[in-house]
């Protein structure tokens, strides 16, 4: 059984149909990426999984538990953590406080400190900035903080919404190598990206969304080699 099963998902913003029946799965320990143009429904899928949006039709099952009627905070407690688009760290809290907020659902101090140490081993830069206010960090550091905060709830599935947004290419590479590293420690990842080349290079499998539907799917390497994908999203061919 897959870790996450999304089947025939329909989501609408009022009269606008953002998702028109998409189906995909994420296996245990996988990195799966959703790529596509603006408005294809990538972020919408992600926000529906985390419970911020309610589907009109279809289901989202996490280890066999239906998430579609569950509130956001309950979904987090099941082990799904979202790193929102645009980072959305808490600007008036220090790096340390931001990370502690990530462990909001947990109570055991020792375990929380362990998790924080693990975040620091992935992002040594955060440790240097420990007492700095979140809002004063650079864009790359804020993204690291947002991912670190997402990891603080010890998720089994991490939802990443456009982690490369607004970052310099060198930082994007750094972030993506850390994403691979986090995955190698056993966290499954659903990655939503506009930067298709980068996303497919770290992912195991990928889905290409077009206007609310899955247009293509397959192994990441196969998608990278696919001429259609290359033309539409990789600027090649």
């Amino acid at each position: 059984m897959a870790l996450l099963d999304v089947s025939d998902l329909h989501v609408a913003y009022g009269a606008i149909k953002a998702l028109q029946g998409i189906t995909f799965t994420i296996g245990e320990g996988e990195i799966v990426t959703l790529i596509g143009a603006n408005g294809a429904g990538k972020s919408t899928s992600l926000r529906t999984i985390s419970g911020l949006l309610r589907p009109v039709q279809g289901s989202v099952c996490f280890r066999g538990v239906d998430l579609t009627r569950m509130s956001v905070d309950k979904i987090v407690k099941l082990g799904i953590s979202q790193v929102p688009e645009g980072r959305q760290i808490f600007p008036k809290l220090t790096v340390r406080e931001n990370l502690e907020m990530g462990a909001f659902t947990r109570r055991d101090r020792n375990e929380i400190n362990d998790s924080m140490e693990r975040v620091f081993s992935s992002f040594p830069r955060l440790k240097e900035r420990l007492h700095q206010l979140g809002g004063t960090l650079s864009g790359g550091e804020q993204q690291m903080l947002a991912i670190g905060r997402g990891l603080m709830s010890r998720p089994t599935l991490l939802l990443l919404d456009e982690p490369s947004m607004g970052l310099a290419p060198i930082l994007v590479e750094e972030i993506f190598s850390i994403i691979s590293q986090i995955n190698s420690e056993g966290v499954s990842i659903l990655l939503v990206e506009q930067n298709a080349a980068m996303a497919l290079s770290v992912a195991h499998r990928g889905y290409v969304l077009e206007t609310g539907k899955v247009a293509l799917q397959g192994d990441a390497s196969a998608l990278l080699a696919n001429p259609q994908v290359q033309e539409a999203y990789l600027g090649e061919g």
């Binding site: 959305q88 808490f90 008036k92 907020m101 909001f104 997402g150």
Partner: protein, 481 residues
């Protein structure tokens, strides 16, 4: 202008020393000094005689008169009617007529406290010269150039110099007889007065220019609060008849006003927190109720709302009580009878009615401020908080509201100042607030001018003080961001 920035902390170049602001400042200082040497008030009221119907007379002379006591009011209370008031005006000898002459005469009288306000008014322009001269001295001679703080201080004091000049004139001709005196050409101030006034205005212009150019600390508005308070205090102290009496009469009104405002404000904050949360709620019912409340209550004038609560609400209670009693006739439950009677007899006290009215009306306005503050926080913050496992209310409490407070605080502070002023409307509800006490006193004595000037000054001190506090809080919160 780039070179101006170098005027603080480093020695000024020759070109900078000839900066127009410094030149104007020097001219201003010279003009004030010159003006005080020239004849300022060439004539003055040498004496006044009040004749009563029993043929007794009371005479007053300088400096009792300079204290602008009404000739009719300074006399000990008499049963007799006033039949005539004659005023003698005489020329002041050249030296005595100058600003320094007047100051010397006033300071030399035996009853100095009676002329304290006049002396203060004459002294302020001279006092303003000291920091102004200090600024000039630093500009021209100091190796360290100008200092921002001294410019701020000089500007704050200079600001009051022209006002003090005008006040000193009003003292001289008697405030209450202003219109009368304007018809007497010989009581108009002469050359020295206008020269000193022009000089003091130049001081303000020059220092304001320096102030703007060098981006000094903001004008110390606390000085204005202090000045207004001092004016009120001087009135009460130097002219106890009638100001002390008015003060004693309206003093408790100040406390009533403050109590109403503070208690209403606490309720307003609670109501508007709920209102603001309602306005951002996704539930259509809660959103609808909150929006209806905000839209309706903002559309009705506060005065009408207060009158409704005071006059119309008892009728509503009466009707409701009647309804409950009729229900009692149908179902015969004992508690309905007592509840119905209680409802029929329910009357809000003036104080409760006032607090209720202000809370309901201002709650609607401040709700909108809360809503705007909450909406100003990026929606992603709520989603980020939710995806960390917080419930909607937890996210509001720990993430959204703490950030929104920084946005909400300044406008809410302004609403507090507005509330302070609008609280004067509750005087129609038989609440003995500051305004009401003023009206009562005026109705008794017909001293409309004196009463309302003191009431206005009291409100001014309160509101200016509150605005300063709001500004201070505002500066603190923006500094942190």
């Amino acid at each position: 202008m780039g070179y101006q920035a170098g005027m603080i902390g480093t020695q000024l170049s020759n070109a900078q020393k000839r900066d127009w602001r410094l030149v104007v400042l020097a001219v201003g200082v010279a003009l004030v000094l010159l003006g005080y040497l020239l004849p300022m008030y060439p004539n003055y009221i040498t004496g006044a005689q009040t004749t009563y119907s029993d043929n007794s007379t009371v005479s007053l002379s300088f400096p009792t008169l300079i204290n602008r006591q009404l000739y009719t009011q300074t006399t000990p209370p008499k049963d007799a009617e006033t039949t005539a008031v004659s005023i003698q005006v005489g020329p002041a000898r050249y030296l005595w007529g100058s600003g320094f002459g007047w100051l010397f005469q006033a300071l030399n009288t035996n009853n100095l406290e009676q002329v304290a306000s006049f002396v203060t008014c004459l002294l302020i322009p001279l006092l303003a010269l000291i920091p102004a001269a200090w600024v000039l001295g630093r500009a021209w001679a100091s190796p360290n150039g100008l200092c921002a703080r001294s410019i701020s201080a000089a500007f704050s004091v200079a600001f009051f110099a022209p006002a003090a000049m005008l006040c000193s004139w009003l003292h001289q001709i008697d405030f209450s007889g202003l219109l009368l005196a304007l018809n007497r050409p010989y009581l108009l101030p002469s050359l020295g007065f206008w020269v000193a006034l022009a000089g003091s205005i130049l001081l303000v212009v020059a220092l304001y220019g320096l102030h703007r150019e060098l981006e000094c600390q903001a004008f110390t508005w606390w000085a204005l609060v202090a000045a207004v308070a001092i004016v009120a205090w001087l009135l009460v102290k130097t002219k106890p008849q009638p100001y002390l009496e008015i003060w004693q009469y309206i003093e408790d009104g100040i406390w009533v006003t403050l109590r109403i405002v503070v208690i209403s404000f606490i309720f307003i904050l609670i109501v508007s927190l709920l209102g603001g949360l309602g306005r951002v709620s996704k539930s259509p019912v809660i959103y609808g109720i909150a929006s209806l409340y905000v839209e309706l209550l903002r559309g009705i004038p506060l005065m009408v709302q207060l009158l409704f609560i005071w006059f119309a609400l008892p009728q509503l209670f009466d009707a409701l009580g009647g309804l409950v009693l009729r229900l009692y006739g149908l179902v015969d439950w004992e508690f309905l009878s007592s509840a119905g009677v209680k409802l029929q007899e329910l009357r809000l006290s003036p104080f409760t009615a006032a607090v209720t009215g202000l809370t309901i009306c201002y709650g609607a306005y401040v709700s909108e401020i809360f809503r705007a503050g909450i909406s100003s926080i990026h929606r992603g913050q709520m989603e980020a908080a939710r995806s960390l496992g917080m419930t909607y209310m937890q996210a509001m409490r720990y993430i959204i509201l703490p950030q929104a407070v920084r946005v909400i605080l300044p406008p809410v502070g302004n609403e507090f100042v507005m509330l302070l002023k609008d609280s004067s409307l509750v005087s129609v509800l038989a609440v003995s607030d500051l305004t009401r006490r003023g009206r009562e006193y005026m109705a008794r004595t017909f001293l409309s001018f004196e009463t309302w000037i003191l009431v206005a000054l009291c409100y001014l001190v309160l509101t200016l003080f509150a605005s300063r506090v709001v500004e201070y809080i505002e500066a603190r919160t923006t500094f942190e961001s």
